[in-house]
Symmetry: C2
């Protein structure tokens, strides 16, 4: 069996997975502030999770950790991760002083992508996972392996330019795909439209729900509000243009969309498919299958565990 750890800025979620990536039991705790405490907590909670399922540590083959930031997978170091305050931390070495099992650390977005890939079937030639969340993240799998780049910093599909000299992006560039297709971007687009349209139903929606969020425009658009429809449709077209670009570059067999917005299902997916029909560069060969991802919050745990399996074997 494999322990999968999804280390986030807010919570640490840990699951014990079988060889197929099925989560047998799991626990979650708030993320401690101190980096040393984070690693100790991950190790101790791993032991608790294993026990809670009636297993022993000797049943566990390896541990996988999905961690935010820049990770050196080969030596198990967190090179830099802003939101857990780590700078050149040898996470694997420290973790093993508490729990001496083989450990694989991977960037959290890559781990989530691998989790979706494994669940998707592993029998596809190539797979891309794009998550529309606070940012736009994801990962690329070809020949069963994550695209990491020569320096483990690759696969940043949220950070190609979609609009040259456009909105400032968190990465320092302007106009990245992320700065138009993230939930953060959708909230900005919603607020801008609301300011221009005091008659929009979205104002009432926000009074009821407390604040603008990623659902504001989608909910009011479903009720027929013209401003909300315009916001939603423009947002979906930004997403579609970015996905079309990604497909032109990779032509993956399957591309799965995750993150909060993906719960909108066919309202999101159908117009993207229409956009691709018109704009995909590939006119003569079989097309990429577009789908909504299935694991939601569990993708990180499953992917981290299955990457540990890929590295250390069954």
């Amino acid at each position: 069996m494999y322990i999968g750890i999804d280390l986030g800025g807010t919570n640490i979620a840990i699951g014990l997975c079988d060889v197929n990536g099925k989560i047998v039991c799991s626990k979650s705790i708030p993320t401690p502030k101190d980096p040393a405490e984070i690693i100790k907590s991950m190790a101790l909670l791993s032991g608790e999770v294993v026990e809670s399922g009636g297993y022993k540590i000797s049943d566990v083959k390896a541990v996988g950790i999905g961690c935010p930031g820049t990770i050196n997978t080969s030596n198990g170091t967190v090179v830099y991760a802003n939101n857990i305050a780590m700078d050149h931390v040898p996470m694997t070495d420290i973790f093993r002083t508490y729990l001496d099992l083989p450990v694989n650390i991977e960037n959290d977005a890559n781990a989530a992508a691998f989790g979706e890939y494994v669940t998707c079937g592993e029998n596809v030639d190539s797979f891309i996972f794009i998550t529309l969340g606070t940012g736009v993240g994801g990962g690329v799998i070809t020949d069963g392996k994550l695209l990491r780049g020569f320096n483990y910093a690759g696969g940043e599909i949220g950070h190609f330019t979609l609009i040259y000299n456009g909105e400032p992006c968190t990465c320092g560039q302007r106009g990245c795909f992320e700065s138009y297709a993230s939930v953060t971007a959708l909230i900005r687009q919603t607020k801008e439209a609301m300011k221009e349209h005091p008659e929009s139903m979205m104002h009432e929606w926000v009074r009821e729900h407390g604040s603008v969020n990623g659902r504001t425009s989608f909910s009011c658009a479903a009720l027929g509000d013209k401003t909300a429809i315009a916001v939603r449709d423009q947002y979906i077209e930004y997403v579609a243009a970015g996905i079309c670009s990604t497909i032109n570059i990779f032509q993956p067999q399957v591309l799965a969309i995750g993150g909060g917005i993906s719960r909108e299902g066919s309202v999101l997916l159908d117009p993207i498919k229409e956009y691709l029909k018109k704009n995909d560069y590939n006119k003569f060969m079989p097309k990429t299958e577009l789908k909504i991802a299935t694991l939601f919050g569990d993708a990180g745990i499953v992917g981290a565990a299955m990457l540990a399996k890929q590295r250390f074997g069954e």
Copy 2:
């Protein structure tokens, strides 16, 4: 030894290569109009090239063809290629009725990328070749293999969106990287600036040289013409933004720039490096090495031959 064939809309260039991709002897003829004639000519000229070097067909292990359009490499079919008028042509089967050797067909941009990769050393982890020509083409090599996508239509790095809703692109989309960074785009940008600036030195340059081309702005900028400097610098920044996007996605160990514009050398390369220093998403890991490609017209022959070697062995 390996025969490498670079099949273009204008010329067919054929070279006999040793196992390291060195061209031993070569010939070139204009491309016939008739598709059947093209394939026959390639086979006959291959025989002539081998003889001209004092070799025999039995010295040749395999033939590689770089062909424009959409290619099904696995069954040797040209699925669609507009500029050589082929639609579902079983090129390998037909070629072998004239010259019975193992044949590998690859998209011409991919073949050229592989040629540059082999020449670059083959010891790099990952490699991207971007050619700034009539269009923006290129190829991606990871783990020694071309990125083809599940349907052989991948690697179209000229066709991600750089400016959403921007200039129309030949592919049908708007605002592709190609529609700002190709020589065709540079010529359009040059003409637009000349129209607005009748005082620019570029008008005189064009009277001397006959027409606007990819060198107009670069040449006049070198002489201090302000309009030309603005055109050149803006063009280079488009190229840099596209290359930065490509690096954020792939983080290749080496990225080589080819095509006519690449002959500008450090005038092109230095500002791109400056742009990357400021804008590259990767702030903490080793950086992609940026260089000018070395093979120019020979990349297609060398790459086609070395792909045949990769497929059929030494």
